[in-house]
Symmetry: C2
Subunit: 405 residues, 2 copies
């Protein structure tokens, strides 16, 4: 007399399926396939010697702390380090404004837990980060548009008034080098977004996963910095910023953070405790040491490497992609976003591309409304310049064939 598991699951969980991306990524391990699919840092850039040396020293000198249970808020010196980094960018706050999470994905999940009930609305750009859609989806929302956000253009028109449903709980924004488009909001766009959200008393969730990865041009103030300056401090601003060390140190350590007004952090600490008690103590201590010592120099090395790869990808796209395809020219991040002629569907192209041993992510996954069928995302951080040129050449040939067919 077996249990009918599908009936036993909570109703909202019965629908949950592995994402198409997840299934896709399983196909990519085939030898010889050039993958532009993942949002994956180059492992050759992981500071593994520094991590090994730091880990050895921490275990020798503070092993009883590093291997023990720890406070749910996170390791105090790491919280201080993040607060100091924010202060250096004009956001005065303390460790009480910081919660350490198990990567930025957990930060997004916690935001969903804290704000969302089934039927609530989240305002997002289209396209937007699919991991955020997954994290929020677990809490049963509908997705409304951030007005004017056709390609991460997020203006929150002043008449928006709580989204289309009147149940908007927050707006989700990647202001810097958005996943998937690679684009940034301009300074006037940021200012208008923060001002309009404040007028609506709508919290903004800023995903700052890529803001350290700028290769050209001047940095722009974060939404958090604009909001804190406007409101007179982080505690009065309606901005919740999610960050991560996955792109600047290593994703396998799973260390991220949330910077937010204290009432939000206090509640999220309770969520963290009930969820998994705390992030790995050892890993928090490693990240604190590595970020405090080699951080800036290591970041410069990452930027130089990825800048050259971005340039190689843009050059190869100019050379190999057919007329009628358009793409972004990002100043940072990890991705280029391609729009194909309307009659092409990126999901139809994918099997042809895999047959030609090159992979990408079709753009539909980044649209909560299933639009964007003629779009796709290309990652340039994982492969070196020669491999990028070869892969884009293969993909260009597939596209020309599809257009001719």
């Amino acid at each position: 007399m077996m249990i009918d598991w599908m009936a036993a699951f909570a109703p909202r969980m019965r629908e949950a399926k592995p994402s198409a991306i997840r299934e896709l990524l399983k196909l990519l391990d085939r030898p010889g396939t050039i993958s532009f699919a993942g949002g994956i840092p180059d492992p050759a850039l992981f500071p593994r010697d520094e991590i090994a040396a730091t880990s050895r020293r921490i275990l020798a000198e503070q092993g009883a702390i590093a291997l023990q249970y720890a406070p749910s808020e996170g390791y105090a010196p790491l919280r201080d380090h993040i607060a100091a980094s924010l202060a250096a960018h004009g956001v005065a706050g303390t460790r009480d404004n910081i919660l350490i999470t198990s990567g930025a994905q957990q930060a997004l999940d916690f935001v969903g837990r804290l704000f969302l009930s089934p039927g609530d609305e989240v305002l997002v750009a289209r396209p937007t980060y699919l991991g955020a859609l997954q994290a929020f989806n677990a809490h049963g929302p509908v997705f409304g548009p951030l007005p004017g956000s056709g390609s991460n253009r997020a203006a929150l028109g002043s008449g928006a008034g709580g989204g289309e449903s009147g149940r908007a709980r927050f707006g989700y924004v990647v202001a810097d080098f958005q996943n998937p488009t690679g684009e940034c909001l301009t300074l006037p766009e940021r200012q208008a977004l923060v001002a309009n959200a404040a007028a609506m008393r709508l919290p903004l969730v800023e995903d700052a996963a890529y803001d350290q990865l700028r290769y050209d041009g001047d940095g722009l103030p974060s939404l958090l910095a604009i909001g804190a300056a406007r409101a007179g401090g982080i505690d009065a601003a309606g901005i919740i910023q999610c960050g991560t060390f996955s792109k600047t140190i290593a994703p396998g350590l799973r260390i991220g953070w949330i910077a937010a007004p204290r009432p939000v952090i206090e509640r999220l600490v309770v969520v963290k405790q009930a969820s998994d008690l705390h992030a790995s103590t050892l890993n928090q201590m490693i990240v604190h040491e590595v970020a405090s010592t080699i951080g800036p120099a290591h970041l410069e090395r990452i930027r130089e490497t990825y800048r050259a790869r971005r340039d190689a990808m843009l050059a190869a796209l100019d050379r190999h992609f057919p007329d009628g395809a358009r793409w972004t020219r990002p100043q940072g991040g990890m991705f280029v976003w391609v729009s194909l002629p309307e009659r092409l569907d990126a999901e139809d192209l994918l099997p042809l591309a895999l047959a030609a041993r090159v992979a990408f992510v079709p753009g539909r996954s980044f649209h909560p409304d299933d639009s964007g069928r003629n779009t796709l995302r290309l990652n340039f951080s994982l492969n070196d310049e020669d491999v990028i040129a070869e892969g884009i050449g293969r993909l260009g040939a597939v596209m020309r064939q599809a257009l001719a067919g």
Copy 2:
């Protein structure tokens, strides 16, 4: 124009407060206080040299894997290791029956996410693990009794029929050395529980956090082993087992697991991906190496140490505690559970105990219905025998004073 955060939070989150235990534990850092409060392993038993050597080797030989993103299911060799351990205890399964979690607390949270909608019922023993109550509470359930569970006696009377509400989703059971009582279910109790749950088609969630920590007597089959034998395999059994390396290697690494029928694991992988992508890759690899090499010998060392401490605590209780107090005599685990004369309230005693520089956890926190005011939990794993004798002496004096007052 600030945001009213309390109004912005999802309704169920407005109530969430840091647990009383959490507040209590902040008081315990005072120098000279002997703490029997936490459920904390002795850090002197952490295999820190082995962890340091293993970490160094992994980073040198497999750093590109250890620091990179990884599958949500977990590190395959660790999943195989856990499946092999289960097979050695009569539960044949494969890695597809195993999900790696960020500690057993996350396993409990995921079970709550998967099965619970607000108003659903969870059947629990009284008292039961307060971290489980916290994890499940995030999903809005009511708690019903596991019939006959006055002191972890869980019989699930055959007339129970879906709990008192008819909305019972699962029963939660710590069969071995329960937190907080230290007691085990007998073999007939286990068999009756599994049989009755199967007849009701009610999933059982078995928290096996302590099952490796047996100091006397013969081990009993787990609920999972009984269920798998009865149903003809893990996939046909209605049992979901949560385990952890926190007690046998180190909690700071945050590595636990769920062993369950494949349809449950498949769905939980989706939950894991949306929650935090995956557990720390490096830490999973460390745990796999350490558990596979020094595991059994190290476990024997832990058992010897904690056995002596358990004996020291029972001897001190016999010597120092007043007539009318009763306590469990556990064959393993980390805790002794004390019942005081009815007229004493452990929460009233706590300030007196803290003034005498000794700490414990009042028993009410382990009761979803706020009962158990005359009970308290004592941990014996953290302190050595002399400290235990001294601390129980202090606590006995406080009780005698309270009884005299």
